[in-house]
Each structure stands twice: as C-alpha cells, then as structure tokens.
Amino acid sequence: MSTLSPSSQATPTKPSLPIDLLPIDLARLVSQAHPALLLAAYYIRFPVLVADPVSTLLQTLLPVAAIQVVYAVICLPAVGSNAKPALVKKAKLNASKKGAEPSQVTGKAFTAIFSLLLSLLTTLPLFALQILFGAPVTSHLPHTALSSAHISLLALFPLFYVHGTSASKWREIVSIYSPIDEVFGGSLGALLGAWLGAVPIPLDWDRAWQAWPITVVTGAYIGYGVGKMVGGWLLRGKRVEFE
C-alpha cells in the first residue's frame, strides 16, 4: 500500500447540499424561537440541575425530546421528502392550504419516532466517547449516560430526522464534511460546546456547578444554540476543511 500516492482527501462524487427549512413562515418563526426556548428553559431549570443533576436530567429528557420533535416536524424536511424539489413545492402548496395530507403527517410522525429511537441508540456511542475523553468510569455512570442522551437529542436527533440512515450521508456527517446548515451547524456546535464544557471542571473554585456533567451539558446547550444560528446564517453552505 505504501507505494500508492498518499491518499488525497475525498470529494464526494455527488456534492450534497445544505438543508433548507420548510418554506413556510411558521417554520422560519419556530426555527428562530426554538433555540431561545431551549436555552431559556435550560436557564430556568439550571439551579435544580445543579442541586440534583441525575433526576433533573432524567425529567427534562422528555420535554426536550418534545421540543425537538415539534421543531423538526414544523421546520425541517423529513427524510425522503426533500429528495425531489417537486415534493417541496407540493408541501408548500399543502401548507398554504393549511391542510396537510394525512399520509404525510403520519410519515412525519413516523420519521420523528424513528429518529428518536435512533437518538436513543446513539446515546451509547456518545457515552463511550465521553468515557474515552476521561469521564469517570467507576462512578457517575448515570450522569454520563444522561448527558449523552441530552447531547444525542440536541445534536443527532435533527440529523436523523433530516437525513435518515443513509450510509454515505452519515459517512459525510461523521467525517464532518457535510455542508453546514442549521441542522449540521447545531450538531457541530453542541459537540464543540460539550468539548469546551470540560474546561472549567478542574478549576478549584469549589462551585456546585463544576460537578460532572453539568458544565458539559451546559456547553452542549449553548453550543447548540450558537451553532444553529451561525450554521443557518453565517457559515451556511460552507464545509469544514481539515487541510
């Protein structure tokens, strides 16, 4: 293998495009309100989170999932629906008529549930990742698992909803080569935020919020909000280049 010329970075044969929001006003509105709502809710629950991380993280899991599902259903094109531009047009027509076809609604619901299941499943790799980055192994396992679940809901659920399980697309996503849009930007932001969230942990400030995994979850939420805005607007369409 070694005589082969050192491999060059692959450029996918069919360059994928950034995701567009559903072309209705409600989608644009909800998309703007969504991170604000998430962060505000997080801010309100923060004292409780610091006081009792495990049960708070567990109890907020369902509401966060609900917010994410509502956001996805209203704003994002479900997987398969944006394959043809015609379909989008149709959706637009439907939306303007204020009466979606029942089959499409069930399709969306099915996609949302399926994506939720997948997010639950991918909590496990995220959990392993946190352990590899140095999360405690002999204690705090529920803490780590719940923080992974939250990160999964923020970063991965919308991706599943929009892209489904296409292997080539996911290869693009995992190699961080997917074009940046609102969804992918949010995911990158959440992961980067969680990464940066580890920074204050070692400091000897003796604050309750330095406990595992509060800073990481906080970083993920803030990162998600920032990444979603920046991805949908400033960096839209750009790709992350390693070289």
């Binding site: 293998m1 990742l129 980055f133």
Partner: protein, 1079 residues
C-alpha cells in the same frame, strides 16, 4: 504488500561493494540482482564509463552534501540547547532563594545583650556561657523521617483502621505522660525542602534553608556558618557520630575519628545496615567503661526512612522498623546517666507513599522528644502534660532546637540562629520559671537582633525599610522588663520577646524569598527569543512541494536529467538545503560580535561575575544574530498562523496547556488534560480518515485512530495521585495508596509485555513487508529476551520486598537480579548499538525472471522485487528506538512498563494515522508525540513534585551509588516517556519512506523543531508563571516543581534530540543510501 521497486536506475556501480566476508548482505544481493538484470537488458545503457561515472560522482556528492547539511542542522540544535541552558540559568539564579552566608561566630564571652544579674558566674564554658549549664553531655538521636503521628497512640475504629505505622513506637508518648519532668514530646515542624541534608543544616545552624541547596543532596557540602557542632567543638567537647554519612559531608573533621562510624545513606533498598551498625556501636559507648570517651553523641538511624521509600509507611516492614526503634530507645534510656540529655527527633516526615522533599503537611511534621533523668522539664499549663494529638497543636520549629540545645549545654547560641528556646525545657519543674523563660528568650532575641543588623549591613539594606519591621516589639519588650520583678512582668516579657522572634522569622522568610527580578527577566527573554528562533527555523523549512508525485517513471527521468546536468557541472537543486546554515552562522557571528564588544559593555554596565556576563552576552548576541539572519532572509514575515485545521490543533494543544499552567488546578490535573487532548486528536483523525477515498485506507485510518484513543484511555488507569488531587483520585501505580511496592497482580504485566509487545511491533513491520533482515532476530528474539529478563527482575524484586523466601540470605536476591539488569543494559546499549550500526535495511530482495510487462512500458526482462522497499527508512530507524525502549522498560516498575508499552503501540498507530492522512509534514505529529511523552510521564508513576522521584531506580543495575550512572538512571526512569517520544520523532518523517526519498533531513529537522517547540513553549510558560506567581501561596508546592520539571524535560529532550534522534538519522540515512543510492 510486495512492492515493485523502480527498475534499477542507471548502470551498476551505483551500489557499493558488499561488506567483505558478508556476501549475503542486502547491498550485495541488490548489487548482484542489479547486475543480473542489467545483463539481461538488451537496450542497456552504455557502459563506456562516461555515463556511470557521473552517477557515482553524483552519489558521492549527494552523500557529502547530506553530511554537511547534517552538521549545520546539528549545530542549530546544539546552539538551541545552549540557549535553553543559559535562559534557565539566569532565571533560576534570580528565582531560587538566596541567602548571604555571614562569617561571624558567637563567642562565649560576648553575649548579644547584658545578661540577667540573677545568673552567677556566666561567661565561661564551665558554668555556662549565656545561661547556666544544665547538662554536660548530650545524645542527639535522629530517627530519619520520624513523622509525628508515628509516635501518637491510635485507636482503630471500623471505618478508620490502624495503619502499619500506628502504635509501633509508643515509648515516647508513654514517658512524656508518665514522667513529665523527665520527658516531653512535641510536633517538630521542618522548613521545606524536606531533604535530610537541608534539614541537618537547619537543625545545626538555626537558620532557614535556601532552595538552591537541594541539588547538592547527592554530594553534600561542608557547612561554613556558625553552628551548634562548631560551638561544641570550640568548647572542647568531643563529638562522636554514628550513622548517616551526610553528617560527615556537612561536618568534615568534627568527629572523633576512631569511635565514629559513618554509613552510606543513599542505598534506600537497605533497611538494616545503617541501623545495625549504629546499634553495634552505640551501646558500648553508653556503657560505664567507655562513656568518658565522648561528650556529645550524634546517632542517625535511617531504617524508618528507607522503609518508607521502599515500601511506603503502611507496610509490615515499617511496623518492624518502628518497633525496633522503640526497643532501641528503651535500651538507650536504661543506659543513660543523670548528666546526659537525650534528644530524639525526626528530621522530616514522609508523605503517603513514604517519600519526602516537598512541603506537604505529612512531610514537614516530624516528632521531637527530649529526655533526661534530672527532672528539669516543666509545662506552663497542666493540660500540656499530654502531648498534642495532632501536629497542628503546640508545634515547635526545628530551628528552635538550636538555642535550646546551646543554652542547656551552656554554649553560646550560633550567630545565625533564628529559632527560640523551647518552653518545656526552660519552664522549670513546676512550670512557673517565668523569669528564666524571659531571660532565655531575651538572650535569644538579642542574638537574632544582632544577626539581623549584621545581615542588613552586609547586604547593604536599610533595616527600617523592611515592611513590618519588628523593632518596635523589641523596644516594647525591653520596656516591659524595666518594671519590677513580678511574676506577671516576666510572663509578659516572655510573650513579647517570643513575639519578636516570631515576627523576625517571618520577615526573614519573606526576605530570603527576595527574587532577583532583572536576572529572571533576562532568563525569560532568552528563552522567549529561543522559542521565536525555533519557530522561524521550523517555519522556514517547510516543504514547498508537498504534492508528492510517486511515479517510478518520473523518478527515473528525473534522475537521468540530474545526471546529465551534473555531468555538465551543474549540481542538482538543493532540496536538502535547510536554513540551519544561515542560522548557525548568524548565531556564531552574533556571538563573536558580542564577545568583541564585550569589554566595553562590561565596563559600561558595571559588570557582575565574568561567567554570568559572558553567558548573557553570548546568548543574547547570538539570538540577535539569528533573528537578523532570518529577517534578512525573508525581509517580510509570512503568515505566522497555521493554515490548516491540524496546525491549529497543534497550536491549541500547546498554547492552551501553557496558559493553563498559570493556574494551580490545571497544573495539578495535567494528566487528565493531556488524555483529553490525545483523545481529541484521535477522534479528529477518525473523522478525517472517513474522508479517505479508498475503502481500505478509510478502514485502516479509523481503526488506527480508535486504537490510538483506546490505548491512551487504557493507560490512564495507571495513576499516581499527588496530594493536591485528593480526594478525587485513587492511586493505582502501587499496591495501595500508602505503599511504594507493586501489587502481586502487577507483576504479570512485564511478562505480558514480553510476550505481546514484540508481536505488536512485528505486526506493524509485516504490514509493510519489513519483517526481514535483522528484524526477526532483533525484535522477535533479542528484544523479547531482554523483556523477559526485565520481567524476572521485577519478580525477584517483589520477592525481595515481600520476603517470599525467608530462607534465602539477605543479599541473594539482590545479587541475582542486579546482573540481569546489567545484561539487559549491555544488550540494549552495546549489542543494540552495534546491531543498529551495521544492520542492513529490513528488506528482502528477490528477482523474478518472468517479465512483468504490464508495469513497465519498455518491458524489462526481469523484475527486481524489494519486499518492504516502501518503508525502508522507518523500519530500520526503529531498531534504534527499540534499543532505547528496552532500557526504558528495564527501569520502569511493572505498572510503568505497561504504560510505556501502550505508548509504543500508540506511537505506531500515530505513525500510521499520519501516513494515511498525509499529515507527515504537519506540526501535529511531533506535537502529538510530545503530548504522548507528557501523558505517559504521569502514567509511569510520576508527578511534577519532588516527592514522586523514584530514587530507588538508581539501584536497578547497581549495588551502590556510582557517578554518573545513578543520576542518569533516575533521569531515564523519570523522563522515560519523553525520551522515547523524542527518539521517535524522526519516525514521523521516516515511517513509510522509500530509500531515495529527497529532502528527508530537512523534514526530520523540521519535525524535531516542532517537537522541541512544544517543550520550549511549555518551559517558557512555566518559567514565566513561576516568576510571576513568586509570592503565590502554592509556589513551592505547585508552580516551582512544575517549572523545574518542565525545565529538566526541555534539556533532556534537547539532549535526546542531539544525541539519539539526529545521530540516528544520520547513521540510518547513510546506511540506506549506501545500499540503495542517494535521493
């Protein structure tokens, strides 16, 4: 994968002759195969000598050019080493505490203040100089590392079980309670650094130690200042010394020659020789017949300290040692006469692992017990009869012993003393001798006042300018005394004089932490300019043509062109040319100019010492020369920032960590932070590998990335926690947190390493078909045999520690295992170097007669296949790393050996990752190696603290201390991970590199520059923080040790780079070039 070598180039003689007598050498095979092939080629090249002659000359020319460039490159790193040394020297000189040593001595007839009228006949040694003599004789018995809690009774409870060191030495406590007038027991607080040499200085001179002396612990230097022993000698007392030979180093010629016995103090494996020797001689000397042969006896037991170093405090050996001491003390007391004072003390404590040197509570809290049969001791409060349960209650400073002993023996208090008399010794039987107390404290305080005045005069400082000058307290105390002789007045005077002493001590502590800021700044500036030069060097030598076209056709055409041009007298364009030459010239010219201008500058600045001045001038002018050269070369700076994600990652890793060292938390948790960075890199390369087009490459890239992360994570289970990490960390390096021996299960690790590690290395060799030549023999057999021997060594060592074979003689196991370690070193360094020196590349050559027409358009009639051609450079160079690896593994304890093996595996996966993702020219590779080095420094049972140095590694292949080997072994043990990483740096370039690759040297120099840059930046940052935070509470616990570690690591890496990496690359390239011709 079998690789089709490009067809042999032009003509036969491009290969050298086979080594005589070795017809099967690769070079010979290659030459023969080539000749065969040439003979078969019909349209052959012309052989009239005109063409092949330029080829030979071209090869020679290239070899010579490589040699020249190498010398310049080596010169650059040598110069850099010099810069690092001078920078660190100037900083250290200004940073470490300095104290002026005064010549003055206290004289019996010249008390510092008019003595109280109530004392009669003072002023001559017979009655007592400054205080009535209480004892004629004294025995000072030191139990090294006797921590205070060893002497305190302990009631075990369910959740707090007794440790091995509890209740083993009850005698001191019992006597203090049973005979309060004869004995007292107090916590005895040492001033850090808590090494024996420093402590003995403090215990005899009564002054504070300075930090810089700690390095002389291995050698020991005579004390010139006024001290207790000097006063004793001047008073005609005969001093006998038994035990630790540090005393004879500090006080040469003080002791009675024929009855004193000194024993080697640094053999920490030996728990009994010193103690038994002392016991053998102490009791006869106490007996009736011989007790007139001496006046003062110093007996220094080392067993407890050595048991701590070797096993940690919580080990049956410690119980045994303390019980033995208990018995010894009972016997000594039994033999004691009425006129002899007995002082028993620890010179320092020990931390949870039994080591010492720093300033944690456990290390500074020793015990002091004084005893006499005269019944002169008292307590000022009845509750004080019970000795303190904890060392925080009623502690006395170790320097307080100096005035106490001096006054009790009727001697003048040494001139430099800063301590105060211990209350219990002067309070009288009833504890109400306030007049006596006030008088002794006043005399002592006056001595301190006299010393202060002399010190400030010598230093040229106005005493009144010192903040919080305690002068007012002195006046107040004197005024108190002026009243009438009531008990209350004496009590008040005692309080005020004590307060004066305490204030003074505090002032001195602050004063001697007086830093020489200009010198520190000069050091920092030199280091910073060194970093800048290094970055410029690394940046300027980046490859312009990163696009590597790998086509044999092109290569051949290019070579033909080169030869044609060369024949015409035009040497090829110089790809090997680096900027080292211009930089080294800049340094030399700058330094020369500096030296030439030196005398003028020296006169202008008023000079200093010649050495300091010369060093400063040479380095500063050299740096200016380098920077000038760079400026001239480029005139304009290019973009100084990294251009790729990976470059940024390298910068973020280095800089964020360096900034973090300004915080004690990030310094304490450095091990977790490096793991975090290592994992980040692995995950990033996994993502990047997914972008690779070829499925096989993608799979391999992801696989190696995950292996890289998983191995780092696995290694993170080896932990040795520092005190500050408690309670969030649990040590796993030794059997328990209170031990310094390995657990039995850990002994399996070296055997697993011996079985598995060579196979892992083999797998990386076979993946590129390079398990050929010397590799199977050296890796599969010699390396493995060495590892097995090392594993047996550690088993024998554990057998010795655990006394598994009580029937064997005391030294049998030691004499068995030491030769094993010596054999391993001989094999690795002796045989290994010869093997690396003479080995042919790890390739094998076959010739196929069947033409493989598909690959070559001109249809050669024979194909020359060189197995492993594509990784010729890397696999051969790694043989050198293996030799070093064997040495490093030999000196690591079982757990550390496991960590270093994981690191070796990580290095391989890192090399594969870099190769697959075309990152071999990025700074990320060398920086990641540096991170691996830093990470595994912690995983081999070290911390950036003095107490974590594994001194006993000096004895692995030796019976006694031998210079320079012992310090070298300790360095190899401490910095093994960084040494391995630095030696592996050239592999970033050499791994998966075919023979005639151009510009190898340039790439290696650049990689080494990035690698050193990581340590240089960290070194600069920790230096700056240590200087900036010099008044920080945690300076001596955290910032100063971190600075010293970083500085040492920087120098070690510099040396390894110069001596191992660069020399190895030169030799390796030479050998590959000899075989395959030069690129």
């Amino acid at each position: 994968m079998a690789t089709q070598a490009p067809r042999p180039r032009v003509g036969t003689p491009s290969v050298p002759k086979a080594v005589p007598g070795n017809t099967n050498s690769i070079a010979a095979q290659y030459a023969r195969a080539k000749a065969l092939k040439d003979a078969q080629e019909k349209g052959g090249l012309d052989r009239n000598g005109r063409v092949k002659s330029p080829l030979v000359r071209l090869n020679e020319w290239k070899a010579a050019r490589f040699g020249r460039e190498w010398v310049w490159g080596w010169g650059f790193f040598g110069w850099l080493f010099f810069i690092h040394i001078t920078g660190l020297y100037f900083f250290t000189r200004g940073f470490l505490l300095t104290r002026l040593v005064l010549e003055e001595k206290s004289l019996c007839a010249e008390p510092p203040v008019t003595l109280s009228a109530s004392y009669k006949g003072l002023g001559d040694p017979e009655n007592g100089c400054w205080h009535p003599k209480t004892f004629d004789k004294a025995i000072v018995l030191i139990i090294d590392a006797l921590r205070y809690d060893f002497t305190v009774p302990f009631e075990a409870s369910g959740e707090d079980p007794a440790q091995a060191y509890h209740n083993a030495l009850p005698f001191l406590w019992e006597t203090a309670i049973r005979e309060p007038q004869n004995a007292f027991l107090l916590p005895f607080i040492a001033d850090p650094p808590t090494s024996t040499l420093q402590r003995l200085k403090g215990l005899t001179t009564g002054t504070l130690p300075t930090f810089i002396d700690i390095g002389s612990n291995f050698a020991g230097t005579a004390i010139e200042e006024d001290n207790l022993l000097m006063q004793m000698r001047d008073a005609g007392k005969r001093i006998v010394h038994l035990g630790d030979d540090t005393w004879t180093a500090l006080f040469p010629g003080y002791f009675e020659g024929n009855i004193s016995r000194a024993y080697d103090s640094f053999n920490v494996w030996d728990l009994h020789s010193v103690d038994n020797g002392v016991n053998q001689h102490i009791f006869p000397l106490l007996g009736e017949r011989r007790k007139d042969e001496w006046d003062v006896m110093v007996a220094h037991y080392l067993g407890v300290d050595h048991a701590g170093h070797r096993y940690g405090p919580n080990h049956p050996a410690m119980t045994g040692k303390l019980q033995q001491m208990d018995g010894v003390l009972r016997d000594v007391v039994r033999a004691l006469d009425d006129d002899t004072l007995l002082v028993v003390m620890g010179d320092h404590g020990m931390d949870a692992k039994g080591d010492h040197g720093g300033e944690s509570d456990d290390e500074v809290q020793a015990a002091l017990w004084m005893y006499s049969k005269k019944g002169v001791f008292g307590r000022t409060q009845p509750s004080f009869v019970t000795p303190p349960l904890h060392a925080k209650e009623r502690p006395v400073d170790q320097i307080d012993l100096v005035p106490t002993l001096a006054l009790l023996l009727g001697l003048p208090i040494p001139f430099n003393n800063l301590g105060k008399p211990i209350e219990e010794a002067f309070a009288g039987k009833k504890g109400n001798a306030w007049e006596n107390l006030a008088n002794v404290v006043r005399t002592t305080a006056a001595g301190i006042k006299r010393y202060q005045a002399a010190y400030f005069a010598a230093r040229g400082i106005d005493e009144s300018t010192i903040d919080g000058s305690p002068r007012a307290l002195w006046t107040l105390a004197e005024n108190t005394l002026a009243g009438n002789g009531k008990q209350q007045m004496w009590q008040d005077a005692y309080r005020t004089f004590s307060e004066y002493q305490e204030k003074n001590l505090k002032v001195c502590r602050d004063l001697w932490a007086r830093f020489d800021v200009p010198s520190m700044c000069l050091g920092i500036v030199i280091l910073a300019a060194g970093v800048v030069s290094l970055m410029l060097f690394a940046n300027c030598n980046t490859d312009d043509n990163t696009a590597i076209v790998d086509a044999p056709e092109l290569d051949r055409t290019e070579l033909q062109l080169e030869i044609d041009e060369f024949a015409k007298g035009n040497p090829p364009t110089v790809t090997e040319e680096t900027t080292s030459r211009s930089l080294v010239r800049g340094a030399l010219i700058g330094s020369l100019l500096g030296v030439a201008a030196g005398p003028t500058v020296w006169i202008a600045t008023g000079g200093g010492t010649l050495l300091d001045f010369g060093l400063a001038l040479t380095s500063v002018s050299g740096l200016i020369g380098v920077l000038y050269q760079e400026m001239r070369r480029r005139m304009a700076f290019g973009n100084p920032f990294p251009t790729s994600f990976w470059g940024w990652l390298a910068v973020i890793f280095t800089v964020s960590q360096s900034i973090g060292f300004a915080s004690n938390s990030y310094t304490i948790w450095e091990d977790s932070i490096t793991l975090f960075f290592i994992s980040t890199f692995g995950i990033a390369t996994a993502a990047s590998s997914l972008r690779l087009e070829k499925k096989s490459e993608m799979t391999l890239g992801v696989y190696h990335s995950l292996v890289f992360v998983a191995l780092g994570w696995a290694a993170s289970f080896s932990k040795l926690c520092r005190e500050e990490q408690m309670p969030y960390c649990r040590s796993t390096y030794y059997a328990s947190a209170n031990s310094s021996t390995s657990a039995p299960w850990q002994l399996i690790i070296p055997f697993v390493v011996a079985i598995v590690l060579p196979s892992i290395i083999k797998s990386y060799y076979t993946s590129s078909r390079n398990y050929e030549g010397l590799a199977p023999l050296w890796i599969g057999w010699a390396f493995r045999a060495g590892l097995f021997m090392s594993a047996v060594f550690w088993t024998l060592d554990a057998a010795d520690d655990g006394e598994w074979f009580p029937n064997l003689g005391k030294n049998t196991l030691k004499s068995l295992r030491v030769p094993m370690a010596q054999t391993v070193f001989a094999m690795a360094l002796g045989a290994g170097s010869v093997a690396f020196g003479w080995a042919d590349p790890c390739v094998s050559i076959t010739t196929e007669a069947v033409p493989n027409a598909a690959s070559y358009t001109d249809g050669p009639s024979a194909t020359l296949t060189v197995l492993g051609y594509a990784n010729t450079h890397g696999t051969r160079y790694f043989l050198l790393v293996i030799n070093l690896l064997l040495c490093i593994l030999m000196v690591q304890k079982p757990m550390g050996g496991g960590a270093i093996s994981l690191m070796t595996w990580q290095i391989f996966s890192l090399l594969e990752i870099l190769d697959l993702n075309s990152l071999t020219t990025s700074p990320i590779g060398p920086v990641l190696l540096a991170l691996l080095g830093s990470f595994h420094f912690f995983k081999t049972g070290h911390q950036a603290s003095l107490a974590s140095i594994q001194w006993e590694s000096a004895f692995i292949p030796l019976h006694t201390i031998k210079y320079p080997w012992s310090p070298l072994l300790v360095a190899l043990n401490s910095f093994g991970a960084q040494i391995l990483a630095a030696a592996a740096v050239p592999l970033v370039v050499l791994w998966k590199q075919k023979p005639q690759k151009k510009g190898i040297l340039k790439s290696v120099l650049r990689a080494l520059a990035w690698h050193v840059a990581y340590y240089a930046v960290v070194g600069l940052a920790t230096t700056m923080w240590a200087g900036w935070l010099r008044r920080h509470l945690m300076l001596y616990r955290i910032f100063s040790p971190k600075f010293m570690t970083a500085a040492l690591v920087l120098l070690v890496v510099d040396i390894v780079g110069l001596v191992v990496s660069l020399v190895g690359v030169r030799w390796n390239t030479w050998k590959v070039g000899e075989t395959f011709g030069w690129g």
